[in-house]
Symmetry: C2
Subunit: 544 residues, 2 copies
């Protein structure tokens, strides 16, 4: 049997275009003489559709479009994700809905399988929208007994229902899993090992197709996989790209030809995820050009390099906005970066506007010393300038702050936090340095001085990050433990960090929640990013 | 039996203080010789604790503190909400947790009842955190068979399990419901009727205790209620205030003395909710003083009046920030308002800073016409000034935009959207007018001209809201249908609105999602507010 894994890049809500994409891949699969072509979870709507699912019109339109796919399935079988409903309404008057897979064959709808395990943690919220499957049936195509499951159904560790085992127990010759599983650094091996383990244990081949592309704060990495009944990896799709993976598979032996294990570089994967995230955010929201502040520092340099790769150097505008506190090396480094990247570069000094603000506020502030007010004011003037360029020329502002800053609130709301998309908001500062090295792997793009110098916000004379914060290695260690691993203070202290430092950092993190609530969406690459997957109260007096 | 409903105002995360509050009320109940005192859902943690629940240390601390309540329960019975766990861990390594009620009597823990129905819609996300009850038992105090349920357990319409009916079926003499049910305009009657209906149907009295107070975007309205077996309302707690309601109830007849039905004014309720929301947001986050822009328009006037009521007139600072486009009446109206409210008032003209920005940007903008850029720039200068005052003097900025503006994006990100708390973000413009009339019920506070004049942003000469937007009555009708009732475009058109207008408004709403993602939290008063209860994708190409 010739099976095609169609890892497509749909756009949430763009139902008709998504269906066109599906039909395009069906036709391609036909030219390769595939018997069966698989599409990801909720392909028709794109994943995650979030509260669009609450609109009955949306759900109706999505199911109506399934017919168009059916019409285009002559001489081929298709499995495609969509939102199912049966005209049954809940007591709230809305349809009862299912995250579902349709099995279509030669212009007929053969069957529908609903999703059993509905992830409701981190960025996932499926219990908000869907009812779970009541039954698990096998489907017959060309004499093959097919078990169909959807994404989380494979990840059954935290659930009572073990869907893969149930389907295998019913005698499935082949299990297909249609997924929309977002990229997360370190998840690749876990995913592959889970497939291998489940296949071996049940002696059943599993073909897994995954969505690819960026959607708001998520990047789906594709890399669809097929394993045979012995748990050998026999096919893998491209990473971070659309792909149609063809597998000519012997369903009698259920054994395929193993492929070589791929080697991945962790930083390369993260870099590729960020590039795809930026590219798709722009493309899908209709923007072409990005503007960002270039401070001569490493965060804005890495952001600019990623943007240039994602959008093309002709679509990136760097702006240096020096104040009286900006060092010469900052201006030089920013200029050098823009030359290395061959991006547009503007210099807009903020001294006059800053002076004008100070004059305007002089009466009110006359008995007050200079403090953080004046620092934030500079950051906000820069934000205003970038937003003015955005308004005037239709650019989208990229904010350049990293996760370490955002965690401890070392950033200015409406200042450097301005922007439509925050490229590095899930990248700890120590990882920003690794990204810079990766960007420079074939020669200097980010000036060496940008990498070597001590980080500084340059908002007052002689200011360095480490005046207010512990060394970034220590800070990032604590942040990873507290935010990503959700460890308690005691647990972090028992890892070897000083109590006083841990207490101080945790307090800063909790106190900065109000800033993060108004932060731009960023790209999730860790197990816990700020944003929709971390729902902390702003008013929160817990000190533990 | 003498039963006390202790509707307290806990603070999320402030475990020790919450427990002190609980013990204070237990002691008060003892002085009234109460046999049983009831506290709201998750009283120890405050509701909703959100992702704090993911920290095992938090869950441990909360359960540890239950012991302190037990120690303080001499000669009284207590029912109190907390997070339960049994040292059982899920496969993810974390405790399996329950939203639970502890029944304590005379220094002993008598029993624990877990919550069955876990709301996971709108602002609720309990399936994210909790496992549901596996059993429903009755508990015995002084020979009374007590059924205990938690909040949503009463609201069983959309669920298969009917908890109240189950408990009544087991022979409960009395059902208590401990709740944390947020205020929502129009919900009061629904709540009361549900209690009455459930009591009558099962011929069982139900005593319902509700949390009071503000927490982030939610205001809990208290108003605990008791109904006897015939469905007669026999006691009601205060609205929007802490209260200890004492009911001397005959559990043989299970019949009480009906109280007169209270009359509520819809606008008064909304006003009271907003005042409590503001007051608690400041108190619980440690702020005293509010600053806000006063434009002479109705939104900032209503916001200032609410702030003065919530915080005291001495804690409110109004700032007029006129530009060259500001009319004389705007300045006069703002000044008059501040005099009527007796709040501090500053005038900070933005003309010089605006001029300085224009000069700084002149080179880059030299071939470009004036457009929305210059309008937004003025709004952002004002935002910067308010934030500078916030930084310098420790004020919290209140943003003054209403729900109609926020819906269609008629507001400037980082400009008038600046602020820590958005008082009117769930109030449609037409309701803002009703609030103004309510505020003026005993004499003019908001100048009549502010109410009468045509709304204008005054960001360019001769600009009025209705140049860009339909009449607010039409706009608000569409907004209510699309956002609050989640109706489709077709349904809205069939209500009698013009297709072209509906299409235009819906497009504006969907396109402004990126702004709202960075908006300040506001106070939810409708069935669907912007914020945590409305999870829309930013990239969203659905046109239906």
């Amino acid at each position: 049997m010739k099976i095609a894994l169609a890892q497509i890049n749909p756009t949430v809500g763009d139902l008709e275009r998504n269906v066109d994409l599906i039909i395009r891949e069906i036709n391609k699969a036909k030219t390769y003489k595939a018997d069966l072509v698989l599409f990801p979870e909720l392909s028709i709507t794109g994943y995650p559709p979030k509260d669009l699912v609450n609109r009955d019109s949306f759900v109706k339109d999505n199911k109506e479009l399934l017919k168009k796919i059916i019409e285009n399935s002559e001489n081929i079988s298709v499995i495609v994700g969509f939102i199912d409903y049966n005209n049954e309404r809940g007591h709230d008057g809305r349809y009862i809905k299912y995250n579902a897979a349709a099995l279509i064959s030669n212009k007929k709808l053969i069957g529908i399988q609903h999703k059993t395990l509905l992830p409701t943690y981190d960025v996932f919220d499926e219990a908000r929208y869907f009812s779970h499957a009541r039954e698990h049936n096998l489907f017959d195509i060309n004499g093959v007994k097919l078990g169909i499951e959807i994404c989380e159904d494979l990840w059954d560790k935290n659930y009572d229902a073990k869907v893969t085992d149930i389907l295998a127990g019913k005698g499935a010759d082949l299990i297909v899993n249609i997924s929309a599983s977002p990229f997360q650094y370190g998840k690749r091996a876990v995913r592959e090992n889970l497939l291998i383990e489940k296949a071996k244990k049940n002696q059943v081949p599993i073909f897994y197709v995954n969505q690819v592309g960026g959607q708001d704060d998520l990047v789906f990495d594709g890399e669809s996989l097929a394993v045979d009944k012995n748990g050998n990896l026999i096919a893998a799709g491209k990473k971070f790209q659309e792909d149609l993976v063809l597998v000519d598979f012997d369903l009698k032996s259920r054994i395929g030809k193993p492929i070589a294990a791929k080697q991945y570089d962790e930083i390369q994967e993260i870099y590729d995820a960020l590039v795809l995230g930026v590219r798709d955010y722009f493309r899908k929201s209709g923007f072409k050009k990005a503007v960002m502040g270039l401070s001569g520092g490493i965060d804005s340099a890495v952001t600019a390099a990623i943007a240039a790769d994602a959008l093309g150097k002709e679509n990136v505008i760097g702006v240096s906005m020096p104040s009286q506190y900006s060092s010469q090396h900052s201006k030089d480094d920013a200029k050098q970066l823009s030359e290395n990247l061959e991006i547009k570069y503007n210099i807009i000094p903020i001294k006059d506007v800053f002076g004008s603000f100070n004059k305007t506020l002089a009466d009110l502030f006359k008995d007050k010393k200079e403090d953080i007010t004046e620092e934030n004011l500079q950051a906000r003037i820069r934000g205003n300038i970038l937003m003015a360029l955005s308004n005037k020329f239709g650019y989208l502002v990229l904010s350049t702050g990293n996760k370490s800053e955002l965690a401890v609130g070392y950033c200015t709301l409406y200042g450097d936090m301005c922007g439509g998309y925050a490229v590095l908001s899930d990248i700890l500062k120590t990882k920003v340095y690794q990204l810079a090295e990766y960007i420079n792997r074939n020669g200097i793009i980010i000036p060496q001085n940008t990498i070597d110098k001590q980080p500084s916000a340059e908002l007052k004379p002689g200011q360095f990050d480490q005046d207010s914060l512990p060394d970034y290695k220590i800070l990032d260690g604590i942040l990873k433990a507290y935010i990503e691993e959700e460890k308690s203070k005691d647990e972090i202290i028992s890892m070897g960090y000083e109590k006083e430092i841990v207490d101080g950092i945790v307090k800063k993190i909790d106190n900065a929640e109000f800033k993060r609530r108004q932060a731009a969406p960023g790209i999730k690459i860790t197990e816990k990013a700020f944003g929709s997957g971390r729902q902390m109260p702003i008013i929160n007096r817990y000190k533990g």
